[in-house]
């Protein structure tokens, strides 16, 4: 989707254009915030703040980087900032608790995959989980992850290597023999 016309229309004062931008990217931004904050309420608030900040600074978006990368960068920093402000006892672990998998009829459902993955990512450091998500879900390159997180390229590569291994250990430990069935059923 070409985002440039929507940005131009937003800057010209058309709010419907920005609503379209929000609808296009809200899933991605919400996922980034949720990956860092692991709490629905905080993730919603951080998502709202991200889009408001992006709107305020839209005139400063030069088009040098992809719009999504620019937006992820705001989302990631906003979520990290929310996480620092949050009281330590306010973390909800609802999304991290392991629920029994749904009864298998047509194989493993998307919800089950999401639950297992969230649980495994929840056992990891927020930054590591976010980097894995940027790499595998949003399919960002290492250079783009550098732009989003502000880490160095070598740091991103080391974190990717270590967190990938840790995620696989967590998943294989959780799923035991069902690991491959999970993916084969879904394919």
């Amino acid at each position: 989707m070409d985002i440039a016309p929507l940005i131009a229309r937003t800057l010209a004062g058309d709010p419907r254009a920005y609503a379209e931008v929000v609808r296009t990217f809200q899933h991605m931004v919400y996922t980034v915030c949720h990956r860092v904050l692991r709490n629905t309420e905080d993730a919603e608030e951080a998502t709202q703040d991200t889009f408001v900040k992006a709107y305020q600074n839209l005139a400063g978006y030069s088009g040098g980087a992809k719009f999504s990368t620019w937006l992820y960068s705001i989302a990631f920093r906003t979520a990290i900032s929310h996480g620092r402000k949050r009281r330590p006892d306010s973390v909800s672990v609802d999304d991290l608790i392991s629920h029994p998998p749904a009864e298998r009829q047509d194989g493993m459902q998307q919800a089950d995959i999401k639950r297992y993955l969230n649980k495994a990512l929840g056992a990891m450091d927020e930054e590591d989980a976010s980097i894995l998500s940027f790499f595998y879900l949003e399919e960002l390159s290492v250079e783009e992850i550098v732009t989003v997180t502000g880490l160095t390229a070598s740091n991103v590569k080391v974190k990717l290597h270590r967190s990938r291994k840790k995620l696989l250990d967590e998943l294989n430990n959780e799923l035991k023999g069902e690991a491959h069935a999970l993916l084969l059923d879904h394919a």
């Binding site: 609503a19 809200q26 889009f51 305020q56 400063g60 998307q110 696989l168 879904h186």
Partner: protein, 132 residues
């Protein structure tokens, strides 16, 4: 049954997909956006660019170095630089300039410009930080 490997991770993430935000999230965001102004970058542009300040500073430095290092006796020197500076000296002698040493005045001017450039840059970056 084989375990998951690195090659399975892209498929796993794609299969899990994104987290679903609440349905009214767009409306809530747009309600906040409606009362938020867009910051226009050009409204906060410095009057004199950083490059212009640096060029001015470099010019003053060159002038200072020339005045300090080149021979001051125009009768004994015939080079183009000497002629240029003797002309400059004639011109400046007709100006009502503050008394004192030229190199010191130039160094103070360069120092002031560098100070103002630094203040300008600091103010701009703090404005950007507060906006973000």
């Amino acid at each position: 049954m084989p375990e998951l490997s690195e090659n399975d991770l892209p498929k796993l993430f794609q299969a899990a997909g994104h987290q679903a935000p609440p349905r009214d999230l767009t409306d809530r965001i747009m309600a906040r956006v409606a009362v938020t102004p867009i910051m226009r970058r050009d409204s906060a542009k410095p009057l004199i660019s950083k490059r212009a300040w640096l060029l001015l500073g470099a010019g003053f430095l060159a002038l200072t170095a020339a005045v300090a290092l080149l021979p001051g006796d125009a009768d004994q020197a015939t080079g183009p630089a000497t002629k240029l500076f003797s002309m400059l000296e004639e011109t400046t002698s007709q100006l009502r300039l503050p008394t004192g040493s030229w190199p010191i005045w130039s160094a103070m001017a360069v120092g002031s410009m560098l100070l103002f450039t630094w203040i300008d840059g600091t103010l701009m970056s703090s404005m950007r930080r507060s906006a973000a």
